[in-house]
């Protein structure tokens, strides 16, 4: 039976109204065919290409173009983007706000990408912040967070989170910590900060639809740091304990909130971390036997969770 035939049957049985039948029938028969997603994809690619081209041009030709022309041009683009967004933005709301136009999100994203280029260019050429040169990255991250929350934009939120991560990396090298261990600490601090922001947002009921993005980024940073620490040779016991605790918290959160990505994180990362530690020095036969037994055990454990909690497809 085709979907169109099923729709007819549901209408006849009274499961849907004639109005719903008409609306859904138009979609199923393709009398109405949306190209909204294709438009979004083209806009996104277009903005990324423009920003990349601007950066490449400035990098390559800054000596010929001159600082003034570059800064004026970039400022003009940012100004136009800001003008477009500020004149069309809907009033702020702590809840989810639909974009006023299809273009809006992409103009804002373009503006933010160009701001990042311009701040980096100014700092590189004029050293405004002196020894604290990395401040421009933190300023960019702060600006992106403000823009993301003010205009309810997921693209800019992603940009803000990745820029903040970059600042953590830079800050660390500024202080002279070059080791993988200090990078792990930095990643853990970053993960904790981002998760804390997510928790605070939830508590304050501000942009709750952003919370998941915060938690996914935080979980990934923390799990990668902990997992790599298990076999690092320094503080392994602490990292192992931390990894197991984090896994427990992640699985419990995932099951409770039906966010099964966190269950997957809680299974895959600790398995990888602990396995690398355990198989170190094992014979090839031992490694294979370990893989067979531990893999089977993990399959059984996840099947158990899937059967009890995660049936939804």
């Amino acid at each position: 039976m085709t979907v169109a035939e099923r729709l007819g049957r549901w209408r006849d049985e009274g499961a849907i109204t004639p109005g719903q039948y008409d609306a859904l029938g138009a979609i199923v028969r393709k009398d109405r065919f949306s190209v909204a997603l294709e438009i979004h994809a083209l806009l996104y690619l277009g903005v990324v290409a423009i920003a990349g081209g601007v950066l490449w041009t400035v990098q390559t030709h800054f000596a010929n173009l001159g600082d003034t022309l570059i800064i004026l041009t970039l400022t003009l683009i940012v100004g136009l983007c800001a003008w477009y967004c500020l004149t069309r933005a809907r009033p702020y709301s702590p809840g989810e706000v639909e974009s006023p136009t299809v273009l809006f999100d992409y103009v804002l994203y373009l503006g933010c990408l160009i701001v990042a280029s311009e701040l980096a260019f100014i700092e590189t050429r004029f050293a405004l912040f002196g020894d604290a040169w990395d401040v421009h990255v933190l300023v960019s991250a702060a600006l992106f967070f403000v823009a993301a929350y003010r205009f309810d934009n997921r693209f800019v939120l992603s940009l803000a989170l990745s820029t903040l991560a970059a600042w953590f990396g830079i800050k660390l090298t500024q202080f002279g910590f070059g080791s993988a261990g200090s990078m792990r600490v930095s990643a853990l601090v970053y993960g904790g900060l981002v998760a804390g922001m997510g928790a605070l947002l939830r508590r304050l009921d501000i942009k709750r639809h952003f919370v998941d993005t915060h938690l996914h980024v935080a979980a990934t940073a923390a799990f990668v740091a902990m997992t790599s620490g298990v076999s690092s040779g320094e503080g392994e016991l602490w990292y192992t304990a931390g990894l197991l605790i984090l896994a427990g918290v992640s699985v419990a959160y995932g099951v409770r909130h039906r966010q099964f990505a966190f269950v997957a994180y809680g299974a895959l990362y600790p398995y990888a971390g602990l396995s690398l530690k355990l198989i170190d020095g094992m014979s090839p036969t031992g490694v294979m036997a370990y893989g067979l037994l531990s893999g089977s055990a993990m399959v059984l454990a996840i099947v158990s969770i899937a059967r009890r909690f995660g049936r939804d497809a």
Binding site: V35, I39, S162, M288, S296, A313
Partner: protein
Amino acid sequence: MILYAAEDEARIRTAARVRAWTQSGLLSAAQGTAIEAGLRVDVTRTNRYLRFALFAFGTIVVWAAVGLSLLLLDLNEEWALAWTAILAGAIAVALAAFLVVRFRLYRFGIEEALAVWSVALVTFGAGFFTSVARHGDDGPALVACVAAAIASVAVYRLFGYLYVACAAVAALAATAFWLGLPRFGAHLLSASMLIGVFFAVRRLRRPHGDDFPGDDYGVIEAVAWVGCYIVLNLRLTLSVMPSFVGIRAGADIPAAFYWSTYAAIWLMPAAGLALGLREKHRPMIWSGLAIAIATLVTNKAYLGRTPNTWDPILFGVLLAGTAIFVRRWLAAGPGGHRQGFTVQALVASDDKAGIGVLSTVAAVQQPMAARTRTETPAFEAGHGGRSGGAGGGTDF
């Protein structure tokens, strides 16, 4: 699909559409629940994350089992390794079928791992077995490609994994490169095979439209079209996949063939988009857009011209401008649509999911890459001094 009734597949896919309609407000929650209850199928499913985790651990189990067997049986002979791989592949697919029949698993991850790796094991075994008999020619690679194509089709027919069907198309196309033909002949034969698949699957899809199995065939059709384009776009294959198709000397491409492919890479996006738009066939529309972008990106390389730094800007303006123009043109039509095409999100949840993917990509591409401070504070073209963000770093 042999292991699942066609009616069950159709019900599962209809239920997914009902869920999307409910999430988009086209049906009330109560209506959605009631209709979905009527579409329920007796299979064991799980969500995509646990499915992925089960696939990952299933992969570990399969490879550990194969490795342990080889070690315990102390198999060192090449022919024994080849037969073991083929046997392991047969056992894996049998086990996957058993899990489906016995426990009614459907896209559960573990049976997918067994089925998918059975293809890899059979492919490796067949190729390795041939290499034992024939050293130093393309025979093993050819046999491996043929085995991969046949095994993938078999797994698709049994379990219905669409990505395995796409792998079968790729494996079939790859066989042409191992027949000892001159390079242009290999490209031509590969493209011909893909066009053959395209028309064959298109013929299969027509009676079903978007209903199962037409939806699967539609994707395979689009994949074959994109594959044909990739094989014909010599700049793409030479630059991106030189190790794959650059096995033989690159000088045996006649100029006539080169410029014919240049014409083809401009005609194929137009034809693909026209077909997709005429039939409102989304996978073909996406494939048409993707290869149109690939043509624009590789055009200068084809013509042997040096790219300019502002090319991406022009490219971006073209993409965004096209999107804006199309959007406005459609919105200005009577009732906000033309020929049924509209820019309104009809099933909002589908579009939200797609935009969610884009925003994830936005997070992955970190424009402010973490940079270390350099020794030289002075700023010179192409060298730079202070570190910076926005991907500029010391080279800003």
